[in-house]
């Protein structure tokens, strides 16, 4: 039933939050950047996701992959227009305080690629970003998106086809 699509297995060796945070944070920012397209909001979206993980760490740390869990959170936040705008505002506020510099701009070709990814249906965009940005196999993409492997395969297949069409390249 529904809870199986949220399948997160438990592990026997939970780790400390700060170790987890330091290992995963940058990669999660990258995912947020790819899916939100906002160099302002990416850090804030990632920070929010890690904040949620911290608040539930007693539970999250027992998951087989807390990293998958935090990526699911950030990938959902990143494709939400409201969340992205709110994160951008927060980032702008910090930049106004001279406390943060935004991520650098991508070069034009990479920016075009990720722009086309974001133009895909949300689940396809998430699957494509996880597959290419993080080299995730289908099983891990499915675990992160909270769907079955066959569903993830469909998202990836359609996403790749649509993306190839949009970019005018062969699969």
């Amino acid at each position: 039933m529904a809870r199986h699509v949220d399948d997160m297995q438990m592990i026997a060796r939970p780790e400390r939050f700060d170790v987890f945070y330091q290992r995963e944070f940058r990669a999660v920012v990258g995912l947020a950047y790819a899916l939100s397209g906002s160099r302002l909001a990416a850090e804030d979206l990632a920070q929010e996701a890690f904040m949620t993980a911290h608040q539930q760490w007693e539970k999250v740390r027992l998951y087989e992959s807390p990293g998958a869990w935090v990526r699911r959170v950030v990938s959902n936040k990143s494709v939400s227009l409201y969340r992205r705008k709110a994160a951008e505002l927060r980032a702008l506020a910090r930049i106004a305080l001279d406390r943060q510099v935004p991520l650098a701009e991508l070069d034009a070709e990479d920016a075009e690629f990720w722009g086309e990814v974001r133009a895909l249906p949300k689940r396809q965009a998430q699957a494509i970003a996880l597959h290419y940005l993080e080299d995730r196999p289908v099983a891990e993409v499915a675990a992160i998106l909270g769907c079955t492997e066959s569903t993830a395969k469909v998202h990836l297949h359609k996403g790749r086809k649509n993306l190839a069409d949009r970019l005018g390249v062969t699969e």
Binding site: Y21, R26, E43, A164, L167
Partner: protein
């Protein structure tokens, strides 16, 4: 260039961009990365911009001062200082271009002076206690302030509830850590408070077997897949055998060196739609937990 090649190239673009960027680091060492609770609203974000003038007086609020290590620095008491915003006079409204609705300034009378809040907001840090020696790096700092005030930890904004309770999570560096907070009320008055806390990394010790509590949890309680399964997990003394028993499927595992255990058990012959009992038993202490499971496989 095909799709895969293009995608790999674009992925590298993101990775190299992120890897070279300083990400929300307040201090130089990775152990001092602050994690901040900043669930700001839109309004909060704009308010943050508005108080930029006051924030400019802030420097790094969180420093693992080398001269404030556990050995050398006495605990510092909470210091609350206040500053007062200049009293403002609110002038009567100027007639608008139409001139018909705006009240004219009374002739021969003093301008109307509305009462101005010149009292700095209270700012109390209730947790942790100044001088505390803590075993966790991620620490919830909490306290109270004037309702409506904004509480900042350096550049980061704490979550403040309607009643003025605030909290923020920060990660300590090893040794002494000075945490500085400011509260700014709606009139612009600012208060400051700080404490010093110490992070002592835990020393790894082995618990006596008797100290390991036995816990067990079921993950799903139901399953629509074939064969149906559930996952059980919990804690027990390292090396303890855990048995999962039912009429339709069983399994076992052994708690690892950290006292954690996990096992997946399939119930291939479970009847559809009928709940049955699953017992999770500690083979050493004979304690057991009982769960229900129902197969929803069609």
């Amino acid at each position: 260039m095909n799709l895969d090649q293009r995608a790999r190239q674009a992925a590298e673009g993101i990775k190299s961009n992120v890897s070279g960027h300083p990400l929300l680091m307040m201090n130089a060492t990775p152990a001092q990365v602050p994690l901040v609770s900043r669930m700001l609203s839109f309004a909060g974000a704009f308010a943050l911009v508005a108080i930029v003038g006051f924030m400019m007086v802030q420097t790094n609020m969180f420093a693992s001062d080398s001269d404030e290590t556990a050995e050398t620095a006495p605990p510092t008491t909470v210091i609350v200082t206040t500053t007062t915003a200049p009293i403002e006079t609110i002038a009567p409204a100027v007639p608008s271009e139409g001139g018909s609705e705006a009240p004219a300034e009374p002739i021969g009378e003093d301008p109307v002076v509305e009462p101005v809040d010149s009292i700095a907001p209270d700012l109390v840090i209730t947790a942790p206690i100044d001088g505390d020696r803590l075993k966790e790096t991620a620490v919830v700092f909490a306290g109270t302030t004037e309702p409506g005030a904004t509480v900042m930890a350096g550049p980061y904004q704490a979550t403040v509830t309607d009643d003025g309770s605030w909290s923020i999570v920060l990660i300590l560096g090893e040794g002494g850590n000075r945490a500085r907070f400011t509260a700014t009320d709606e009139a612009g008055n600012v208060s400051e408070a700080s404490i010093v806390v110490y992070y002592d990394p835990p020393v790894t010790t082995t618990k006596p077997t008797s100290e390991w509590g036995y816990t067990a949890h079921a993950t799903y309680g139901e399953c629509a897949l074939a064969p149906p399964y559930d996952e059980y997990y919990g804690t027990a003394a390292p090396g303890t055998t855990i048995l999962v028993l039912s009429d339709y499927g069983s399994g076992s595992t052994v708690a690892d060196g950290d006292g954690n255990w996990w096992v997946r058990v399939e119930f291939p012959t479970a009847p559809t739609g009928k709940a049955f009992v699953v017992k999770v038993k500690n083979e050493t202490t004979y304690e057991k937990f009982t769960f229900e499971f129902v197969s929803l496989a069609g």
